[in-house]
Every structure is written in structure tokens, then in C-alpha cells.
């Protein structure tokens, strides 16, 4: 069970059960749909971008605890960040869940997102954690069509 607690940390369980920013943004400047065909997880990310800054961000959908928590915490962390900061966090998060490494290159730290470090021990679950981030990136690129982590 100790291994499982590495994956399912309290904060992940909490956000999995009570996701924050789980709503649509009516006048979003961008949104994108993501889909993990392996497990059927679907997430839609909404953005309000003004002057290169993420003024508001939310999501709908998701599925498993890892995916839902990742989406929830992502929206909390990215709110108020610039596009460049968000892009840097995307890279760091991706590195964290695939290699388990925490980049310390002087940019914004991952902070509480480090609870997802345990995911790298479960390769099949990496996509669950990264789906919201890939979907966010697609929204940033104003891609209207659904993207896929496959």
C-alpha cells in the first residue's frame, strides 16, 4: 500500500474527489478537447487569454483520479501566469511525470505539482496526468479540433 500512497497522495485524492475550476467559461478566448482513447478519459480546457496572460482557466470532463486531479491543480497553478511561464511549467511537468525529475533551472517552480512525481512509476498512467496539460497546450495554440495523447 505504501507504493500506492506514493501515487495517490492526499492532495491528488482531494483534487480527484473535489476538483477546482470544474466549469465552462462562457466567453473563453480559446478551448480544446483532449481524449485518451485507452481509458476513455475526456477533458475540455477553457482559457481566457489577455495580453499574453491566462486571466482565467477551467476544465470540464476528465475521468480517473489522476487525470481529474491533474486538471484541477493545473488550472490553479496556471491562473495568472504568462504564456511563457505556462509553457515552461508544461515542460517541467512533462519531465516530472515521465522521468520523475524536478528541473531547477531558475524558472517558476512546480511547487505542489510535484505530488505527481509518483506517476512515473506507472507508465500507463502518465497519459492520465499529462492529458489536461496537452489539452491546455492545444487550447493555447487555439486548436479547435480534438487532440489526442496517443
Amino acid at each position: 500500500m505504501s507504493d500506492l500512497r506514493e501515487l495517490y497522495q492526499e492532495m491528488i485524492l482531494d483534487h480527484g474527489k473535489s476538483p477546482r475550476n470544474l466549469r465552462a467559461i462562457e466567453n473563453a478566448t480559446a478551448s480544446a478537447k483532449g481524449n485518451n482513447p485507452l481509458c476513455g478519459d475526456r477533458v475540455t480546457v477553457y482559457l481566457t487569454l489577455r495580453d499574453n496572460t491566462i486571466e482565467d482557466i477551467s476544465f470540464e470532463g476528465a475521468g480517473c483520479a489522476i487525470c481529474t486531479a491533474s486538471a484541477s491543480m493545473m488550472t490553479q497553478v496556471l491562473k495568472g501566469k504568462t504564456e511563457a511561464q505556462a509553457e515552461s511549467l508544461f515542460g517541467k511537468f512533462h519531465h516530472l511525470v515521465t522521468d520523475g525529475e524536478v528541473d531547477d533551472d531558475g524558472g517558476l517552480p512546480l511547487g505542489k505539482l510535484e505530488v505527481f512525481q509518483g506517476v512515473r512509476e506507472y507508465p500507463i498512467r502518465v497519459k492520465c496526468a499529462s492529458l489536461p496539460w496537452h489539452t491546455f497546450r492545444a487550447a493555447m495554440r487555439q486548436q479547435a479540433q480534438a487532440i489526442s495523447t496517443e
Partner: protein, 423 residues
């Protein structure tokens, strides 16, 4: 739990059946000794693919070490020995499903390819714009997508027969859907996502009364039920070797000889011809007309060993044991707080699909894996079925004759662990 009481299998009807010696059967499957994360493997993902008995593993090994060569062509000893072994599987398949002749047994890669073969060869010849192909709401994607593709190409329409909240086909509605434009009825014998056994013979009768041919997806049925294609009177029957304890990449399309005779080849190449000139090619006879190229020789021979193994044990006894397993699992898993069983049709076999209210199936699967328990989680390649029940995914425990009640109890213990983490 009335659904449990009503679960039935063909084997169970037959009266006294000698019970299986499961402990000795388990000795035949080397992988069952495996430990996962330090726990004994509890393999409950048999509907995705079952495990191989030593007889199959050894047969394939012996082929490669002693007899292997290409088949149907060489005059040399090894080619003849390989050909004989491969072709003996055709007879074993014929006997297993009680087909009339071995030329009605076409080797393919699996159920998916078998259905695609019929869609391409039979479908393109007989199905035109305005025609209808009737399926059910509980089909695997492999019995949906080939027909959708055919409809796109021909202008035909795919019609879907509804299922009840229990996951049973609504026969009164289905019957009405077989109309003057229906050119083919295609349906699953035993649903991989719900465990429902369809009233196969009744459906075939309804279709035939209206002159409509029938294809049955038997991927899940053949390993768990005694199948008799002549008794069913179906026109096509498809199944895979790897769910029948045989190798992957080998499967079977059964078709009535007169239908197969009239169908054009599916793929062109070697083995499917009797003579080739640049002006004209004459196609080979059945079954070779549909078997272009060097086939999965080891797969076919391994499948023969698997059929021998299963036949020796007896599908009646297998079905009876699995009936007990499913009844026990339905009771035990059904009592776990927060469990909703998806698929409670009166007639079921070997599959228990469920959700747990506190955890997504994907999380549940990860926790169970830590306990050494392998179940499938997801949409089971049956997204429309999942949608029908308003769930994106389920967890699915699926049983084989080597599974035990103790393993089901381990599954229940694992579910309590899931509740500990997420409840």
C-alpha cells in the same frame, strides 16, 4: 440477485457433469505461478486474451525445433510435416464447431479480420445503396466499424437493435428491424463488455425466415460455450485463437460453403490461386481462395494443440465451472458497497463488468494490479455499449476454467483496498 439464479450455460443443463480438477489444470499453465508485485497472479482478464497451457507452448516450440518449413508447396519432408500439422488444425476446428466440411474453415488473423473479410468480399458484392445491415447495441468495435466502412462505400445504412437496461437484446424490437432492405444481420454471441449470451438460434431463425444471412461474432463464445454452427444454422461465424488458449494472430472464419464459393477473394497473392498468367488468374478452391500469402503456420498448429487441450477437458465441464465462478463473483462483488454491475441479463457467461462509486475504473485497476490482480478497465472496445449504460468505462473481471473461487475472493479483497484508498 435474481440474475444469478437465472444464469445458465449449456453445460449446466446437461445434468451430471464431472467437476474440474482445477488445481491440476492450473499446473498446466506455467504463467499462473507468476507473482506480480510480490503477490500471486490472479488473472481475470481472460476476455481480452487467455493464457496458454504448456501443451500449446510445447507444440509451437517443437514445431520450430523439429518440423518447421513453409506449407502447401514443398515436396520435402519438413514442408509436408508442417502442412499436415497445419491442415490437421482445420479438421480440429471443423469438429470443434461442428461445421460440415473443412473447406468451410478459413484461417485468418482473428475475429476482426474474419468480419472484415465478410464485409469486403460478401458485402461489396451483395450490399448496395439503400440496403441495411442490422447489428446490436452490444457489439465490439470490430463488429461495428467494418460495417460502417462498408456503408460509407456502398451507401447502405447501419441499423442498431436496442438492448434493455439489463443488457439483453430487446427481441421484439430487433425482430421489427429485420425489414425488406436488410441484407445482413451481424451480432455478438457472447458480449465481451456485458457477458450477455444472445438468443442466437432465435435470431438466426428470424433472419432466415426473411431470407437474410447472419454473421455471428463468436470471439467470446467459443472458449466458454459449446458452439455448433450447423445447429445454429448461421451463415458466418468468426472467432480468435488467442481467447481459446491458443496463439495470437490466428483465428477462424466459418462460412457455409455455397456462400463462400460465390464470394470473390478477399486478398490476392500466393496460395489463393490455381494458375496465374498476366492475362488471367484462376482462383484456388476453398478454403485457400481466402488465404493469400504464407499464413501464421505456428499459430495454426498451436491452435490445434489448444483445441485438443480444451476438447480433452470438455466444453460442458468448462461451462459448468465458469457458471459457478460467475454466480459466485456476481454475489460476492455485488455485495461490495458502491458496486454497480453493468450487464445483468438473465443469460450470461464468464464476464462481470462493474463500476465502483468511489473510484474510476482506471484507478481501481491500478490498485488491483498492486494486489497481483489483473482485470481490464476501460470501454472494452465497446464505446456505444458503455454509452448505453451512461458510463465511460467499467472494470471487467472475466473468467476462464483455471480460475477459482479463492481468486474471486482475492478480487473482493482488492476492491476493499480500493475503497480504503478512495472511499
Amino acid at each position: 440477485m435474481s440474475s444469478v439464479a437465472q444464469v445458465e450455460t449449456r453445460g449446466h443443463r446437461g445434468g451430471a457433469i464431472e467437476p474440474l480438477d482445477v488445481e491440476s489444470i492450473r499446473e498446466d499453465f506455467p504463467i499462473l505461478k507468476r507473482r506480480i508485485h510480490g503477490k500471486p497472479l490472479v488473472y481475470l482478464d481472460n476476455a481480452a486474451s487467455s493464457q496458454r497451457p504448456r501443451a500449446v507452448i510445447d507444440r509451437v516450440k517443437r514445431l520450430y525445433e523439429e518440423d518447421y518449413a513453409n506449407i502447401h508447396r514443398g515436396v520435402h519432408t519438413l514442408s509436408q510435416r508442417s502442412t499436415e500439422a497445419y491442415e490437421s488444425t482445420r479438421e480440429k476446428v471443423r469438429a470443434l464447431i461442428n461445421a460440415a466440411e473443412t473447406r468451410e474453415i478459413i484461417f485468418v488473423r482473428g475475429t476482426t479480420e474474419a468480419i472484415n473479410l465478410v464485409a469486403h468480399s460478401y458485402g461489396r458484392r451483395h450490399i448496395k445503396a439503400g440496403d441495411e445491415i442490422l447489428i446490436t447495441h452490444m457489439e465490439h468495435h470490430s463488429n461495428i466499424v467494418p460495417w460502417q466502412m462498408l456503408c460509407e462505400q456502398t451507401g447502405a445504412t447501419l441499423v442498431v437493435g436496442p438492448i434493455s437496461d439489463q443488457g439483453a437484446l430487446v427481441m421484439s424490437e430487433f425482430e421489427k428491424l429485420i425489414g425488406p432492405r436488410t441484407r445482413l444481420v451481424a451480432f455478438v454471441h457472447l458480449s465481451n463488455a456485458l457477458g450477455t449470451i444472445n438468443p442466437t438460434k432465435a435470431i438466426v431463425n428470424l433472419a432466415h425466415e426473411r431470407g437474410v444471412p447472419v454473421l455471428i461474432d463468436g470471439a467470446q463464445a467459443v472458449p466458454h460455450l459449446k458452439v455448433d454452427v450447423r445447429d445454429l444454422d448461421c451463415d458466418f461465424y468468426a472467432f480468435s485463437g488467442h481467447k481459446l488458449y491458443g496463439p495470437t494472430g490466428i483465428g477462424v472464419l466459418y462460412g457455409k460453403a455455397e456462400l463462400l464459393e460465390a464470394m470473390p477473394p478477399y486478398q490476392g497473392g500466393g496460395d489463393m490461386i490455381s494458375s496465374v498468367t498476366f492475362e488471367k488468374t484462376t482462383y484456388n478452391d476453398l478454403p485457400f481462395k481466402f488465404e493469400a500469402g504464407t499464413p501464421n503456420i505456428a499459430g495454426g498448429i498451436g491452435l490445434g494443440a489448444a483445441i485438443d487441450y480444451v476438447t480433452e477437458i470438455g466444453l460442458d465441464r468448462i461451462a459448468a465451472h465458469e457458471y459457478e465462478l460467475l454466480a459466485h463473483a456476481t454475489r460476492a462483488v455485488g455485495q461490495v458497497p458502491g458496486v454497480r454491475i453493468i450487464g445483468t441479463a438473465p443469460c450470461k457467461a464468464s464476464v462481470l463488468s462493474f463500476t465502483l462509486d468511489c473510484a474510476h475504473p482506471h484507478d481501481l485497476g491500478t490498485v488491483l494490479d498492486q494486489e497481483g490482480i489483473a482485470v481490464r478497465t476501460g470501454h472494452h472496445c465497446a464505446q456505444p455499449t458503455m454509452e448505453r449504460f451512461g458510463v465511460p468505462a467499467t472494470a471487467r473481471a472475466s473468467f476462464a476454467f483455471y480460475n477459482t473461487k479463492q481468486e474471486i475472493d482475492a478480487l473482493v479483497g482488492g476492491l476493499h483496498k480500493v475503497i480504503e484508498v478512495f472511499g
